[in-house]
């Protein structure tokens, strides 16, 4: 199992479009992926879950990856957050 903590950089936070990009990326890997914000943990491969987090710019998220390709999954997801979802 692998854990990472990140802060949301992009301005619109984890709203619809970034949420979709996140779920899509996570789906490419076998590893399970969970996101925790405050006391709520959701499945990072579920769009409805990610939307429910209501994570705004500046929110700290705790990411948990578990599976054979967890390294690659973590790298891809963290990269996505760091690029701010390529938001203009």
């Amino acid at each position: 199992m692998l854990e990472r903590t990140i802060t949301i950089r992009n301005r619109s936070g984890l709203h619809t479009r970034p949420a979709a990009a996140l779920v899509k990326t996570a789906a490419r890997f076998k590893a399970e992926f969970f996101i925790r914000k405050d006391n709520v943990e959701i499945n990072g491969k579920s769009i409805i879950g990610v939307m429910t987090l209501a994570a705004e710019q500046g929110s700290a998220l705790h990411l948990r990856f578990d599976g054979p390709d967890e390294d690659q999954a973590a790298a891809a997801i963290v990269d996505l957050f760091e690029r701010g979802f390529d938001e203009q």
Binding site: T16, K45, S46, G49, M51, T52
Partner: protein, 589 residues
């Protein structure tokens, strides 16, 4: 007003609402409630699980297809922003984690699919509703919408199939999706409990030319599907069980309006001037670039009021400078060479505020320019966006809800700062961009002479001006008769505002509802109003009146109107005037 329970009487009931789209419709009502499909917890046999799951999958596929159709239609009719709601709903239906969970639970718990689905979705909905911001609450409603759609499809009940033949849709409120779907059916008219003149349903009905009355408060509780009803979209009336007399009156009125409207077509291309060639500016009030085409088709020249706050609907945050710039640029380009007046965010009061903020008395609270001056970043962002869109020289800025000179001076300093920042960034803008204010607070109206010395134009917002002058909340039924547009106090204010502007050689316009009240037109021309800005559908009628009068007669009418002592006398006098000057106008008073 009678409050007989529905169905027990055939008595005629007349309800007063807001005229949202002109026209008259008579027909059976179709009561469209967000029928929340009932979900019962039902056990299933182990050998039924696979067929149960198959039903769920079929329902989801069907729901997705429905939403894709709505999405395509919405993108076309409402623009990409409004269409986003449906995109998110489609994504939720594609959530494999959610669906896997539901399927697993159906197999393990041997319960019906709709119960498990609603149980799962309710968990998320609760979390969204617990979030403090309005945006998440809206998303929770989206979730509910999409869930109900799937459940309806599981039940195999097709929601809209019951809409057979022509009917008048009556509902609490209409969402963009509802209006889009209904617009493809045979809809004679719309009536809603809630909503204002700028609601989606209202805007869409106007562009589809379907009569609509909104803001009827409790109409849905007063009738049943199949009841005979009538809509008068000119006067904002909704009639349940219309009597023979009413029906005859309405069809006469419809015929008169139809004849009049046919003749109005001729007026659309003509200039808005009196018989003795006094020209006035006729402009449109809009809130989306998509409305420009319709506004122009009705004879609008420029945009007298672009409500920038419409961008905030259903958003978690204020739009960025670039997002705003794109919108403003599009409007400025489309209306060029004619002008567009962007009113800076007018939030607070009854209008949405992105920050959650509660106050005892919002109409006397933190709204309009007061918010902007307290939120420099927000204000500067918007000013820079508007300035950047001004390079063709056809953009004006207007501040809402000013009540003091200091506010105007500070707001102008912000404009200067925004200009300096753009200059430093090397971004072009119109250095001569004109800045004006709305006059909608009595203090501003009384100080109009001082204000006129410091701005480039004034635009009178009558809705608030009347509300504050008469100290009456017009949404409060108990005091509604005191909302008197023609009260002599209001008339005196109008006269002094217009005179003050002219003394300083600046123009004075009006973008409140009075600008499109046919009863007010002669008076306003006579008072010297330079610009009338209104919902596009009313433009031809107002132009027709302007073209039927002489300036010197209108001045006499204004002088005479100012001698009366009550709203009632002034209305009676003005209706006589209109009947004489424009006998073909089917005025109802």
């Amino acid at each position: 007003m009678t409050t007989e329970p529905v169905g027990t009487t055939d008595q005629e009931i007349i309800l007063n609402g807001i005229a949202a789209a002109p026209g008259i419709a008579i027909g059976p009502a179709y009561l469209y409630s967000k029928q929340v499909p009932e979900v019962h917890r039902k056990g299933i046999a182990p050998d039924e699980t696979e067929s149960e799951i198959e039903r769920l999958r079929t329902a989801i596929a069907r729901s997705t297809k429905e939403l894709q159709k709505i999405l395509a239609f919405a993108e076309q009719k409402l623009g990409p922003d409004s269409a986003k709601i449906f995109e998110a709903q489609i994504m939720i239906l594609g959530d494999t984690i959610l669906l896997d969970t539901v399927e697993k639970r159906v197999r393990a718990e041997l319960l019906n699919a709709e119960f498990i689905l609603s149980d799962e979705i309710t968990k998320y909905r609760r979390m969204m509703m617990a979030a403090p911001d309005e945006y998440m609450h809206e998303r929770a409603h989206d979730l509910e919408d999409v869930m109900n759609r799937v459940i309806r499809n599981i039940h195999d009940q097709k929601l809209y199939s019951r809409l057979e033949g022509e009917s008048i849709i009556v509902s609490e409120t209409l969402t963009p999706a509802d209006t889009v779907i209904f617009s493809r059916n045979q809809v004679l008219g719309y009536a809603t409990d809630r909503g204002g003149i700028t609601s989606h349903a209202a805007i869409l009905s106007r562009s589809l030319k379907i009569p609509a009355v909104v803001g009827l408060r409790d109409v849905t509780r007063r009738l049943r599907t199949g009841n005979r009803v009538a809509i008068d979209g000119y006067s904002g009336l909704f009639i349940i069980n219309p009597s023979e007399d009413t029906l005859q009156n309405l069809s006469r009125k419809a015929a008169r309006f139809k004849e009049f409207e046919e003749r109005l077509v001729d007026v659309i291309g003509l200039s808005a001037e009196t018989k003795d060639h006094k020209h006035v500016e006729l402009s449109a009030n809009i809130e989306q670039p998509e409305e420009i085409e319709y506004a122009r088709s009705q004879g609008a020249i420029g945009i007298g009021l672009f409500r920038t706050e419409a961008q905030l609907i259903g958003r978690p945050r204020y739009p960025t400078e670039d997002e705003q710039y794109e919108k403003y640029r599009r409007v400025a380009d489309e209306i060029f060479p004619h002008p567009v007046i962007f009113r800076t965010f007018d939030v607070g009061g009854d209008k949405l505020l992105v920050e959650s903020y509660q106050e005892q008395n919002p109409f006397l609270g933190w709204r309009g320019i007061r918010i902007l001056l307290d939120r420099p970043e927000l204000f500067l962002n918007q000013l820079r966006a508007i300035l950047r869109a001004s390079t063709r020289g056809n953009v004006l800025i207007m501040f809402p809800m000013v009540s003091t000179l200091q506010e105007i001076r500070r707001a102008k300093e912000f404009v200067q700062r925004a200009k300096d920042e753009l200059r430093a960034r090397g971004v072009p803008f119109d250095p001569k961009l004109k800045v004006g204010v709305m006059i909608e607070v009595p203090s501003a109206a009384i100080l109009a002479d001082h204000i006129a010395a410091e701005v480039d134009f004034l635009s009178i917002g009558t809705n608030d001006l009347v509300q504050y002058t008469m100290a009456v909340d017009r949404d409060n039924n108990a005091v509604a008769p005191l909302f008197q547009q023609f009260n002599p106090a209001v008339l005196r204010l109008l006269k002094s505002i217009i005179d003050a502007g002219h003394k300083r050689n600046i123009w004075v316009g009006m973008c409140g509802e009075m600008a499109c009240d046919p009863l007010a037109t002669v008076l306003l021309v006579g008072l010297g109003l330079d610009e009338f800005s209104m919902i596009p559908s009313m433009l031809p009628e107002i132009k027709k009146i302007i073209r039927s009068i002489r300036l010197k007669d209108a001045k006499r009418v204004a002088d005479k109107a100012l001698t009366f002592t009550t709203d009632e006398e002034i209305r009676a006098y003005l209706s006589e005037v209109v009947k004489n000057k424009v006998p073909e106008l089917p005025l109802e008073i």
